[in-house]
């Protein structure tokens, strides 16, 4: 049982790392940031983008701000 739990924990770790590396968690981070922003009331809250809008916005921003890849 403990072995199984260990394997499960390891697999979750790998999945977490892969998601982070490929940037799949970007939307979650955006939502968390947005909530914190709204909670602090520091800014006129921007409307929260839906997941689809967010990913479109993300690649569109990359169009305007390209990043080099190294040799």
């Amino acid at each position: 049982m403990t072995l199984l739990a260990g394997v499960r924990k390891g697999a979750r770790g790998v999945a977490w790392y892969l998601k982070g590396l490929l940037g799949e968690d970007a939307y979650e981070k955006y939502v968390a940031h947005h909530e914190a922003d709204a909670a602090s009331g520091a800014h006129a809250a921007h409307p929260l983008m839906t997941e689809r809008e967010f990913w479109r916005d993300q690649t569109d921003r990359q169009d305007q701000n390209p990043q080099g890849r190294c040799c």
Binding site: G20, L21, A26, A39, T59, D63, Q67, G68
Partner: protein, 757 residues
């Protein structure tokens, strides 16, 4: 938001926010922990030092008939660990002086998009994937002709004292400036002249680097229906992935990357079948010029298509493949432990007559291997995305210095892979067609005429290897990528599949390199286009608007034409292409490093840290001496094999005296091509070296001025109090564990205290 301290050094109180939690460890406590040498710590570091020392002895002193590859890996890893633990700590303590009480741009500019605090281990992988490309895989392969030792020493020592130092400092300095780019920092620190020279140099260098990367792919795909098919298939695969993410399941990146990876493997297997058909032989067996035009047209279209359609999905695939393949190669080398049968230092190191790249060890070894030891291009990455994602200041050592050490390890493994194949085959693959005639007989005759001890190449060795890897021929497959692919398949087949799998592994390796070279070509063209539009905008304001289509297309076309011209020049060069152009790539990359280090020197001087200026001045001096002397040799040398203008003169004179063939050029047309190419290459060398000298001189001027004035003027952003905590390195230290446990115990809703904008 907490009160911002007014100076860059030591705010008086260690702020505890949000409640009673510290956002940073007490500096004294940290220092005490570092200085406390427990018996266990002493034992571990003794073992690392002894193992590292033993490995270097095995490599450099013992020099038996053969040397086992495992010693390369041990020598590298032990030296990296020592460099990381001691030298980077020294730099951290005396030059970088990070302060975890200061918020990073990811915290004080947080927008949940471009500026977002990212877990240090994830960011490490992210940064590594962005800096490591084809460079560390190609340079060491070409430098293997000088023997195994010079390249190994330069890669390992160079990274510890130069490459990783540059990456670390640029990353930290850019982070302290809100993620400012290298070009902006050059303008801030070096003034208008130095800044402009740095900007132009960066643009020209990018063109050269993209051109030569494209040349490497062209050489790998020419006359290879299998390669053309499988690499060509990456385009529809990426388009499919792009549409899937855009319209079907946005954000499911891991899922589509796995689907893409499976399709990629299918494309490699399918390539083998297609290559055997008449159809494949008729339509996909393409010569270099056709492939080069294909890449040029592809490059233009890819750079004007929206990012989501092609660039972003291929980037996911490339990251996936990169981490996977490098990990796989590392495991294979450790398990297989290939014996290496190459002299420590070959005669070519001193005679400079090596057929792969011309020139003696000094300075040409140091420009042939750029990436992996010292790569200026990294300065563009380390001042791009990464600094905007760092959680805490003290993490820059792990990400900047540590990330570069990882790239260096990749270079060592590429060197091992290249060294593990038969030396006769190595030279047959890497000598230009001008020397081998492109035929098996010609290659055998040429390689055996080199008089290398222990090398006895037979025609069947070449034809057998070609059959095993599923290619028509492996003679004169220059550029480094095919050699690495043969080395990788040679190692991997011992682990999985045997000889029958060699052709799969070979094309897997070619695909893996082509994938990120094409990404680099596409991304490089885009970045260069924006830089060009920005510069043109000073004269024609309309160009500043980057969403103005005609301007964007025109600027893209100009950039593609620039690298395309260099690519075509390399492909059609009667002298062989890669061996004349690769030094230009290395010189360009190292000159960019010199520019980056010059900016670092000016910053360190302005901080008043003259006592430790040598940490930057040492690699800067070395990079400057190497690249300037290499450039001068390329410009002024009277040996035609080395000097561009000497070659130019020799061919011009032959032409004017009415000769119809000269050296390796069989016709008047080819001779005219040599005259034209050497002139272009020579002029480019002059442009590079002049720009670099201007930048270095302005940096020295800024340093001297800072010394005279003793002013502590800084271009850093103002310090902002941090409200979050995270550990610095990969593994938490005991004091970090204690503090982290306190933070973990905090209720979730109280943790999010980041304010932004």
């Amino acid at each position: 938001m907490g009160a911002a301290s007014s100076t860059t050094e030591e705010p008086t109180v260690l702020k505890r926010v949000p409640h009673d939690l510290a956002v940073a460890l007490n500096p004294e406590e940290l220092d005490a922990h570092d200085r406390r040498w427990t018996p266990l710590k002493v034992a571990i570091w003794s073992v690392i030092s002894l193992l590292g020392g033993l490995s270097w002895v095995m490599l450099a002193v013992v020099r038996g008939e053969t040397v086992n590859a495992i010693w390369f890996v041990f020598a590298a890893i032990c030296t990296y660990l020592i460099g990381y633990r001691f030298y980077s700590k020294f730099i951290e303590k005396h030059i970088v002086r990070p302060d975890d009480r200061r918020a990073t741009p990811a915290e004080y500019k947080a927008d949940g998009k471009d500026f977002a605090a990212t877990d240090r281990r994830v960011l490490f992988g992210h940064h590594f994937a962005a800096i490591a490309g084809a460079g560390p895989l190609v340079g060491p392969v070409l430098a293997a002709q000088m023997g195994y030792l010079p390249g190994t020493i330069w890669i390992i020592v160079g990274v510890v004292l130069a490459g990783a130092v540059q990456d670390y400092l640029i990353l930290h300095f850019s982070m302290r400036r809100g993620g400012r780019s290298l070009g902006q920092m050059a303008r801030d620190e070096l003034g208008v002249i130095g800044g402009t020279a740095a900007l132009i140099a960066t643009l020209v260098i990018m063109v050269i680097i993209v051109a030569i990367l494209a040349l490497v792919v062209t050489n790998a795909l020419a006359e290879s229906p299998w390669g053309v098919f499988s690499v060509g298939m990456t385009i529809p695969i990426a388009l499919f992935m792009g549409c899937y993410l855009r319209f079907f399941r946005p954000g499911k990146i891991t899922e589509i990357s796995i689907i893409g990876f499976v399709l990629l493997i299918a494309a490699i297997v399918g390539g083998g079948m297609v290559a055997g058909t008449d159809w494949g032989q008729t339509y996909l067996l393409l010569d270099k010029v056709t492939i080069a035009w294909g890449i040029i047209i592809y490059g233009f279209i890819a750079a004007i298509l929206p990012v989501w359609l092609l660039l972003a999905p291929r980037d996911y695939l490339s990251t996936f493949m990169k981490i996977g393949t490098i990990g796989m190669l590392a495991v294979a080398i450790v398990i297989i432990r290939p014996e290496i049968n190459v002299p420590a230092v070959s005669g070519f190191a001193t005679t400079g007559t090596g057929p792969v790249v011309a020139g003696t060890l000094f300075p040409f070894l140091f420009v042939t291997i750029a990436c992996g030891a010292l790569s200026g291009f990294h300065a563009l990455i380390a001042s791009g995305t990464t600094p905007k994602l760092i959680q805490k200041e003290r993490q820059t050592r792990f990400i900047g210095y540590g990330g570069m050490l990882m790239e260096s390890l990749v270079a060592v493994m590429a060197l091992v892979a290249a060294l593990s194949i038969d030396r006769g085959i190595y030279f047959a693959m890497n000598a230009s067609p001008a020397l081998t005639g492109g035929t098996v007989q010609g290659a055998v005759a040429f390689v055996n005429s080199l008089g290398l001890t222990g090398v006895n190449l037979t025609p069947s060795m070449l034809t057998d290897m070609a059959t095993n890897v599923g290619e028509e021929s492996i003679v004169s497959r220059t550029g480094g990528a095919p050699t690495l692919a043969v080395g990788l398949s040679h190692i991997m087949q011992q682990l999985v599949g045997g000889t029958s799998m060699m052709s799969f592994w070979y094309h897997f390796a070619i695909m893996f390199e082509a994938l990120f070279i094409l990404t680099a070509v596409d991304a490089g063209t885009r970045v260069a286009r924006f830089m060009l539009q920005d510069s043109l905008g000073n004269f024609f304001p309309k160009f500043k608007n980057t969403s103005w289509r005609p301007g964007a297309w025109a600027a893209t076309a100009i950039m593609v034409a620039a690298w395309g011209a260099v690519l075509l020049m390399g492909v059609t060069d009667p002298l062989g292409g890669i061996n004349t152009l690769f030094p230009l790539f290395g010189i360009a990359n190292q000159l960019l490093a010199a520019i980056a280090l010059a900016v670092c020197m000016a910053i360190v001087a302005k901080r008043g840290l003259f006592k430790y200026l040598w940490v930057v001045a040492l690699p800067l001096g070395f990079a400057a001496v190497v690249t300037i002397s290499a450039s001068f040799l390329k410009i002024f040398s009277t040996t035609p094999g080395i000097g561009y203008f000497a070659q130019n003169r020799a061919f011009s004179e032959a032409l004017s005296s009415g000769e119809t063939s000269f050296g390796t050029a069989p016709s008047v047309l080819a001779m005219e091509a040599v005259v034209r190419n050497t002139m272009v290459q020579g002029v480019l060398s002059i442009v590079f070296v002049v720009l670099a000298i201007i930048v270095i001189l302005t940096a020295i001027q800024a340093t001297v001025r800072a010394y005279r004035n003793q002013s502590s003027a800084t271009s850093e952003d103002e310090a902002v109090q941090s409200q979050i905590y995270a550990p610095a390195g990969f593994i938490m230290t005991p004091p970090e564990k204690v503090l982290q446990a306190e933070w973990d115990a905090l209720p979730v809703h109280k943790k999010i205290t980041i304010e932004g904008h």
